[in-house]
């Protein structure tokens, strides 16, 4: 049995095979693997008894369900209006500089992926970004370098 088969098996055991458990199962795979491989989606489809197309169609609807390989730490910079007004472009440049990658890319050591996202709900403390589930607000260029430094040392 492969790792993915085992992971999906555990998730199905925890949540059950009802269709309304599909999102929690997909989220469980993302939590471990950071993204959904074709193989994982086919495995989920098999174990839930639905078509792989159904799983793929559902997963790709949601912006946090990546089907491309992602790094261990996924950075999502808010690009919506208030963060845009309060300098998210500078924050993005600082991140590109700190990570030596462009927006949308993953570092060669697979440690970081840099993405943008829509409103994170921190407009009063803009600019803001998520790293995995952690929120960082009132960002400055210096702060970005500090945060990335901390993650690099983890």
């Amino acid at each position: 049995m492969t790792d993915i088969q085992q992971l999906v098996g555990e998730l199905v055991k925890k949540h059950g095979t009802k269709r309304e458990k599909l999102l929690p199962i997909l989220q469980g795979v993302i939590e471990k693997e950071r993204s959904l491989s074709d193989y994982a989606m086919i495995e989920i489809a098999k174990q839930l008894g639905i078509s792989a197309a159904d799983v793929y169609g559902t997963a790709t609807f949601y912006s946090f369900m990546d089907t491309e390989p992602r790094g261990e730490n996924i950075i999502r910079v808010c690009k919506t209006i208030t963060c845009f007004m309060k300098g998210k472009n500078q924050i993005l440049l600082a991140l590109e500089d700190a990570l030596k990658i462009k927006l949308g890319e993953t570092t060669p050591d697979k440690k970081f992926t840099l993405l943008e996202t829509n409103c994170l709900g921190w407009c009063h403390k803009a600019p803001a970004m998520l790293i995995n589930d952690e929120i960082y607000t009132d960002l400055t260029i210096e702060r970005v370098h500090e945060i990335i430094g901390e993650y690099k040392n983890k």
């Binding site: 009802k18 269709r19 309304e20 458990k21 599909l22 999102l23 929690p24 997909l26 989220q27 993302i30 169609g57 559902t58 609807f61 949601y62 912006s63 946090f64 369900m65 690009k79 919506t80 209006i81 208030t82 845009f84 007004m85 996202t117 829509n118 409103c119 994170l120 709900g121 921190w122 407009c123 009063h124 403390k125 803009a126 998520l130 589930d133 952690e134 929120i135």
Partner: protein, 393 residues
Amino acid sequence: MGKNMLKRIDLIFKNEHDTDEILSKIFKRSNDDLINDLIGSGLKGRGGAGFPTGLKWKLTSEAKDDEKYVICNADEGEPGTFKDREILTQVPHKVLTGMAVCGRIIGAKKGFIYLRGEYNFLKPHLNEEIDKFHAILKKLGSDFRIEIFSGSGAYICGEESSLMESMEGKRGEPRNKPPFPTEKGYLGKPTVINNVETLAHAWTIFKYGPKKFRDLGVQDSRGSKLFSVSGDTPIAGIYELELGMSLQDFVDDFGDDDCKAVQVGGAAGFCVPRKKFRETAIGYQGKLTGISLPTGGSMMLFNSSRSMYNVLKNYLEFFEEESCGQCTPCRVGCQQLLEGIEAVKRGEKHQHYLNKLLRLSETMKMTAKCGLGQSVANSFSSIVENFREEMIY
């Protein structure tokens, strides 16, 4: 700023933790009595749509089915809104109480909090609160149970029928209405779905009676409301204010003395230029004189350093990405509006093309399946009409 024209209200975040006492008092009262309190308070949905909450609970309680559900909509995705996160952080027990009372009234045994994926960091704390709350319910002999359902990054899932599709393990695409969730909601069962803030207000109404709430606000717009204030303001944050306030008073309190426009209700809302601050009131459309604008609480201020073209472009990029793609007017309309204003700005299209785009946005308003596609016209027409020159030059 700082003129303090508006009275600050302190109900939602008021530090009260007597959940046991309140629930045991409520559970001794009849369902009709409780619904009458809710209807009498004049509370309307605080997510922005403004459906009377008491009526929603009453309709669902009358629906005949052995299974029913309560859902707390915590998919707070409207740009410029961040109050629900704060409610769930500071006073989650008030929201849980609202859900449990709703469950008792309508006859539901199960409640869900649909929490947006962006707020996943709230889960550990919220789950602890839910466990504590379940212990209280058990003591009172109630078997109502609440669990969190996580979203995964989709604005449209804040729309109630999309949210239910998403909970059913599908793409979050809106359903046709009717039937409304009060008849056929989650898994086809009668469902009450309320915004986080609406449920927290229910606490105040059941604890203090409907009058305390009703005495706030004006005419059809009763009670207080949380406002998420952001943009060009020295005091960005969350404020509880009375409904019915004048936008001029709001700007006097929160603006930076250079405010040229306020976006009321987020990207899906309306942009009000300075010359209309005085005649605009914040509340549900009804008997208010002048213009009255509803809002889920998003108030974004823009000063004279901002280009309204950039603001509109940012909104349209947002809608183009977040449109679920199910219906053509919204899917294609959002793309065409965005491409259209870019072409006019670059001089590739004559400025009269803006009129064509305005007609397109009106068509979207009439023909899009859900509130997302219908509301793009709000910000589009209010920005293009009031700041036309900024769109062109």
